[in-house]
Amino acid sequence: MIELSVNGRTRRIDADASTPLLYVLRDDLGLVAAKFGCGLGQCGACTVLVDDQPVFSCITPIAALPGRAITTVEGLGTPDKPGIVQRAFEMEQAAQCGYCIPGMIARAEALLRHTVTPSEDEMRTAMSPSLCRCGTHMRILRAVRRAAAMRGGGVVDPAERVA
């Protein structure tokens, strides 16, 4: 048994210590926002927050996580009460197929927890480990700029103005 803190709740997990967090989230806890993409830490679809840092949950064994605060997109808001980043993504219609979006939202959330006034360069660097095969990157970046503004800051040198 391993105890994990997921979205503010303590969860007792009956799984081998080497099990990647993604499998535990999806299969044991029913938190299916984070997606399996490559399973190699290359695409970012599985990204969740651990202690405010974005991590690839597909290559993070739960052995590494006792005592650390795990946050998934489910922990940022609900369909009825979406969080700020979720609303920004919705307003910008950033999703095409949507598969990468939970990872994108987790990554944006991590950036904005660190600073609500990132530079354009900081924002792009922070978002770059997550890939989108549909090609909606420009909308995703707009959504991050919007989320920064909605959280009382903003990208300080935006490449595009937030409408």
Binding site: A17, V50, P54, P61, A64
Partner: protein, 429 residues
């Protein structure tokens, strides 16, 4: 009263002597400015010379210090951490105000061969003029032609932050007096032309010793231990001599492939500062990379692996028993790429025990690779590994390293958790 004035006299004499010595030192340290010129036009240079300089600039890896991440080529601003403070790579585009646009060719040649800027100020030896001093006139002309025909970028790099009084550049004349011996290249008739070409390039423009040679307390490369292994940006640059810790021989073929692709299926992927070197060398045409590989393969020809390639240790059961936590972390974080049969290994990446990192006297490179991962340059292909700095704690990284060391290692490492903390600190940009 008499005694006091006698004492005063002695003090005055001492002060005067010190002042005289100081003035003498300043005179000794003084280098004249070389007159500014109008930036030479593109037509002043032959295309062949520009192309020649472009090749040398790649071999010389100029961009690692002179092109900032995401910045314009050769516009400088790269922070360079040294034990003596932080320097910033200079702007070497031909911008007249912030770059070298008003440098004549003799001024450029003096900077490369003597470490003196156009205005007469001494340059820090982070700029490897101790290597560049061996360059031929033709090569310097090519580099000058190449740099002076780049797009000028108006950008003043951030100010250096050196530990006082090292910001006072005339002191560098003292450093040069102690350590700087302009390099001269002479052909070694005992070796063929390719080897000699490799030595000229490797010791000279490529300045491999800048990272792979140990340095003394004042940052000087130790002349008596060339290529015995050194430190750079929190990484260990392994030896390129008979003490090479590689577990497979570095033949010229293998080394050429590694230098051109950043990957050797029998050694490792180029990680840390070596990544940029391989990326630059991947764009070099002609036999120069082959020559460099031939030269260093010969320097490593008496290394242990060159005589006998030992079997690869795999003590999996013992490692799991000794380090169960490390084993669990490895199984969840590393195995899907690194176990024999994993897609990455099938695709030609070396299996772990081949990695030179496993056989170095320090765990530093393994730790840095886990913390920082391996990333190809933006827009380029190359070996990739995600960074675990934000995922694993120091204790957890140490547990993984301990497990790997027991399973595949050939060297004993201690105090791993402290090593991880140090690696994190020294690896910060």
């Amino acid at each position: 009263m008499r005694r006091l004035s006698a004492r005063l006299r002695i003090v005055l004499i001492v002060v005067a002597l010190i002042a005289l010595l100081f003035v003498g030192f300043l005179i000794f340290a003084h280098r004249p400015a070389i007159a500014e010129v109008a930036p030479p036009p593109r037509a002043a240079f032959a295309q062949a010379d520009i192309a020649h300089g472009a090749e040398l600039a790649r071999i010389g890896n100029c961009t690692s210090c002179h092109t900032a991440k995401g910045g314009r080529p050769f516009a400088g601003g790269v922070p360079i951490a040294t034990p003596f403070g932080t320097l910033h790579g200079t702007n070497i585009t031909p911008d007249p105000e912030t770059g070298i646009g008003r440098w004549s060719e003799p001024a450029f040649a003096r900077s490369m061969r003597q470490g003196v800027a156009r205005d007469g100020s001494h340059l820090y030896p982070a700029f490897p003029y101790d290597h560049f001093s061996s360059l031929t006139d033709a090569d310097l002309h090519g580099l000058y032609a190449f740099l002076m025909t780049r797009r000028p970028v108006h950008l003043e790099p951030p100010a250096n932050r050196m530990i006082p009084p090292l910001g006072f550049r005339p002191l560098l004349a003292g450093w040069k007096l102690l350590f700087f011996r302009p390099a001269r290249f002479t052909t070694d008739p005992a070796h063929d032309a390719l080897w000699n070409r490799g030595k000229y390039l490797g010791d000279g423009i490529a300045h491999c010793g800048g990272c792979h040679s140990p340095r003394g307390v004042l940052g000087n490369e130790k002349r008596d231990q060339p290529y015995a292994g050194g430190w750079v940006d929190g990484w260990y640059a392994p030896p390129l001599d008979a003490t090479s810790p590689a577990i497979r021989a570095w033949t010229a073929d293998r080394l050429e492939t590694y230098l051109r692709t950043g990957l050797s299926t029998t050694h490792a992927a180029a990680a840390g500062p070596m990544g940029a070197v391989a990326h630059n060398l991947s764009q070099v045409r002609g036999p120069d990379v082959r020559a460099i590989a031939a030269y260093y393969a010969d320097l490593m020809a008496k290394a242990p692996a060159a005589r006998r390639e030992p079997p690869l240790p795999d003590r999996a059961d013992a490692a799991i028993r000794a380090h169960p936590k490390g084993a669990a972390l490895y199984a969840g974080a590393c195995a899907m790429c690194h176990e024999p049969g994993a897609p990455m290994v099938v695709a030609g990446r070396p299996v772990l025990p081949l990695g030179t990192q496993f056989h170095e006297h320090t765990p530093r490179d393994m730790i840095q690779t886990i913390l920082q991962g391996v990333a190809p340059p933006v827009g380029a292909h190359g070996p990739y590994m995600p960074a675990y700095a934000g995922t694993l704690s120091d204790e957890q990284v140490a547990q993984v390293v301990a497990y790997l060391q027991t399973r595949h290692g050939t060297v004993r490492w201690d105090d791993l958790e402290d090593e991880v903390a140090r690696a994190r600190k020294e690896g910060k940009p």
